[in-house]
Symmetry: C2
C-alpha cells in the first residue's frame, strides 16, 4: 500500500471527503471524471495556506519598511493610518478598510522594479520572525495544506493561489514555499509600467492600487488569469465567498473548502470578530452550499511543519 | 534519426538558429542550459500565428456582429468609425487608432457572459470564410509556427500567446487551434464583473477597453500574468518591439523572432505601409539587437496547413 498522502490530517470528515473527491475526478472510469486540463484547484493564501495573525504577514513587511523610511522622513507618520501601522495598532490600521491602506502599500510597494521589490521581500522573509511564535513566516505555512496540494498535483491537478495579497509579494516566495510558480499566482495589483531608462528594460511598480483580488474580485481575477472555472476552491474568510460560490455552482463535480481557525492552542482561534478577513456568512451558508468546513483543532494532527 | 521537427521550414538561417537555440537551452550539459520552468516562449497572434489581412480577424467578427445588430438598430451606424467597419473600409476604421474602435468592440464584445461570448466566437469561426482565400480563419494559421510551438513544447518549453487581440476572443479557439490553454493567453481586456443574478454565477463582459496588450503593454501583460521574463519571443509588428526588447535584453540565452510578411504569392506582402500593425522600427533594429528576421517567402516551404 502506498504511504498516506495526508499524514497531518485526522481521520475525520474533511480528509475522507478530499480523498474521495480527488479519486473520483481523476479516475477515467468514474462518472465524475474530469479531464486533466480542467482539474484546476485554487487556494486563498492568508489564513488558508499560512497563518495571518496578528495581521497579514505582508502588512508586517509593510510596517517594517515604513518604519525604516520614517526614520529618514518622519512626516510619513503624520497620517493616522500610517501611524497605526507603524505602531502595530491593527484595528486602527484597518479603520478605513483596504482603501485606507493604500498609502502604506505605496510607501513600501512602489518606486522600484519588480525584481528589486521581490529581492527585498525574500530578504525580509529570510530574516524576520513572527512576534509570538519566533518562527520564520514561511515556517508558518500549514503542513496539511502542503500535503493536500501535493495530493492534488499527484492526481493531475494544476494548483493556483488566488490571494487578496499583492501578486508580486506572494510570487516572491510561492515557488520555494509552495511549489507554485509565479504564473499560477493571482493576486491584488498596483499599476506597473514598462521602462527602458535607466539601465536595462524593467517593470516598474507605481503608487496606488489597481485591482483588489478579494470578494467578487476573486472570480474576476480567476477569469482574467485562468480563463476557466476551477473545480476546487479553498479559502478561510468571507472574502473567499464569491470564489467558492463561483467554483461550486458550476455544473459537474466541485469541491469548496473553508478553513475554520478553531485552534487557540496550536495556532489561533477566530472567525467573526476580526477587523478584516472575518468568516461569518461562509459558516452560515456552508451546509446549504455543500462546502466542507475544516475545523483546524479537530481535523489536523499537525498545523505548522516541524522545525 | 528522428523525423524532421520543422518540415515546413526551408534549410535557411532561421531554421538553423531556432534548432540551435532550442538544443542549447534544453541540454543540461550545455553552458546555455535553462531550467524547464524558465523555458517560457511567448508568441504574438495576429500576423505571427495566423494571417491578419485584410484586417485582424477579430475585427471581421466584430463587423459581422455589428451588421447583425445594425439590422435591428440602424442608429449604430451613425458613428463614422462604426460605418467604416460595417462597410469594411479598414483605413477609415483605423483613422482614430485603437481608441476609435472601442465603440465597435463594445457592441460586439460586451453585454453577455464570457461563456456566451466564446460560444458565439466559436460558432462564427466554424461558419465564416475569409473573403479572399475562402478558407476558415482557423485554417489560416501558419503551419511552420505550429511546428515551432511543438518543437518548443517537446523541449520542455511552456508556450504562451501574448496578443493585442481580446483575451476572451483568442481563448475561444487557442486550445483547439494551437494547443494553448486559456490560462496561457495574455491579451487585451475590457472590464468584467462577477454577477450572481440572474441564474448561476457568471463573469459578465462590460463595455469599454481596460487594458491594451500592445507595445509597452506587452511587457506589462507578461508581468501581470506570467510574472517572469520569457526567454523566447516572436512577433511581426512594431507592437511587438517592446516585448522582444524586454525578453532579449535580460541576461542569459534569449531568442527574438520577427515574422516579415514577404510572400504576396502564398500569403500577403506588407510591412511599413499598413494602417495598424506596421513593422518598421523592428526591421531597422533587428540586426543590432540580434533578432532573427524571418522572410516568409524565403524561409517557409509551406504557409497554411494543407486542406
Ligand atoms: Ca484569507
Ligand atoms: Ca501582430
Amino acid at each position: 500500500m502506498a504511504s498516506d498522502p495526508l499524514p497531518s490530517w485526522q481521520e475525520t470528515g474533511p480528509r475522507a471527503a478530499l480523498l474521495d473527491f480527488v479519486a473520483r475526478v481523476s479516475d477515467p472510469d468514474h462518472a465524475d471524471f474530469v479531464p486533466a486540463p480542467e482539474r484546476i484547484a485554487v487556494f486563498d493564501n492568508d489564513g488558508t495556506l499560512w497563518s495571518e495573525r496578528p495581521t497579514y504577514f505582508q502588512l508586517l513587511y509593510a510596517r517594517d519598511r515604513l518604519n525604516q523610511k520614517a526614520g529618514e522622513d518622519p512626516a510619513l507618520l503624520e497620517n493616522e493610518v500610517m501611524r497605526a501601522v507603524a505602531e502595530g495598532d491593527w484595528d486602527g490600521a484597518f479603520s478605513g478598510g483596504y482603501e485606507g491602506l493604500i498609502g502604506v502599500v505605496t510607501v513600501s510597494h512602489s518606486g522600484m522594479t519588480v525584481e528589486d521589490f521581490q529581492t527585498d521581500v525574500r530578504d525580509w522573509l529570510a530574516g524576520a520572525r513572527h512576534p509570538e511564535t519566533g518562527r520564520r513566516y514561511t515556517d508558518m505555512v500549514f503542513a496539511p495544506m502542503l500535503e493536500l496540494m501535493a495530493l492534488l498535483r499527484d492526481a493531475g491537478f494544476t494548483v493556483w493561489i488566488v490571494t487578496g495579497g499583492g501578486v508580486h509579494f506572494v510570487r516572491a516566495f510561492a515557488a520555494e514555499t509552495y511549489g507554485i510558480p509565479p504564473e499560477r499566482v493571482v493576486g491584488s495589483t498596483g499599476p506597473i509600467e514598462y521602462r527602458t531608462e535607466p539601465g536595462p528594460p524593467r517593470i516598474f511598480k507605481l503608487p496606488g492600487l489597481e485591482f483588489m483580488d478579494d470578494g467578487p474580485g476573486k472570480p474576476v481575477g480567476i477569469d482574467r488569469q485562468i480563463g476557466r472555472v476551477p473545480i476546487f476552491a479553498a479559502g478561510n474568510s468571507d472574502g473567499d465567498y464569491a470564489m467558492l460560490e463561483y467554483v461550486t455552482s458550476a455544473p459537474g463535480p466541485r469541491f469548496g473548502l473553508l478553513v475554520h481557525h478553531t485552534d487557540a492552542e496550536r495556532e489561533f482561534a477566530y472567525d467573526r470578530d476580526v477587523a478584516l478577513g472575518a468568516l461569518e456568512r461562509g459558516l452560515i451558508d456552508a451546509e446549504g452550499r455543500g462546502w466542507c468546513v475544516l475545523d483546524m483543532a479537530r481535523d489536523w494532527s499537525a498545523v505548522w511543519p516541524e522545525r
